[in-house]
Symmetry: C2
Subunit: 102 residues, 2 copies
C-alpha cells in the first residue's frame, strides 16, 4: 500500500471551503482505501489529510481524473500552501478494507 | 471525532517487532474507527500511526484496557522515542464507518 500524510494551509477563513471540495471529490476514486480529512485544533487554517491507496500508481492516476482535476481547480484559490508531506507504506490496521489487511 | 497523527522511532532493527505489537492490539478497541500503521520509506526505524476515534474519551479509555497496557509493556523495550504527534479533529472522508460520515 501507498500512503500520504499531509498538512495544507487554507487561505485565511477558507478552511471549510477547501474541506468541502476535498470531501465531495474523494468518494469513490479507484484504489483509494482511506482518505481522512481533519482540522487542527491548534491551527485554525490547517487541514490534515491522511491517505491510503492500493499502490502509488493508483494515487498518481487519481490526479488525472476529470473530477479530481476539477476539484484541484476549484480548491486552488482557497489554498495558501502545503506545509508538510510524508510518504508512507501502510502495512495494516483498522479502517482498511478486509482484503487489504495482511 | 478525535484523531492523532504520530511518528515513533523503534530501537535500531526493532521496527517490525513494534509493528507486530501494534497490529495485534488494535483489532477491536471501543471507539476506534481507524488505526493505520505505516513504515517510512525514507527512515528505516520510523513508524507512522494515524488514528481516528469517536471522541477523545474513547482514546483515553483505550489506554487503560488490559490488552493495551500489556501491549505497551511488550513494545516499550523496542521503542526509542516519539518524534512527532499532532492531535486532529477528523471531519470525514473515505475509510470511516458509514455512521461517522457527515
Amino acid at each position: 500500500m501507498f500512503g500520504l500524510i499531509g498538512k495544507m494551509r487554507a487561505a485565511r477563513g477558507q478552511r471549510d471551503a477547501v474541506i468541502d471540495v476535498l470531501r465531495e471529490t474523494t468518494g469513490a476514486l479507484p484504489g483509494c482505501l482511506s482518505y481522512i480529512v481533519a482540522t487542527d485544533p491548534a491551527d485554525a487554517d490547517a487541514i490534515w489529510v491522511t491517505e491510503v491507496w492500493t499502490d502509488q500508481a493508483s494515487h498518481k492516476a487519481s490526479l488525472q481524473l476529470p473530477q479530481v482535476q476539477a476539484a484541484i481547480a476549484k480548491a486552488r484559490p482557497f489554498i495558501a500552501g502545503f506545509e508538510f508531506q510524508v510518504e508512507t507504506h501502510p502495512v495494516g490496521g483498522v479502517g482498511l478494507p478486509a482484503s487489504e489487511k495482511s
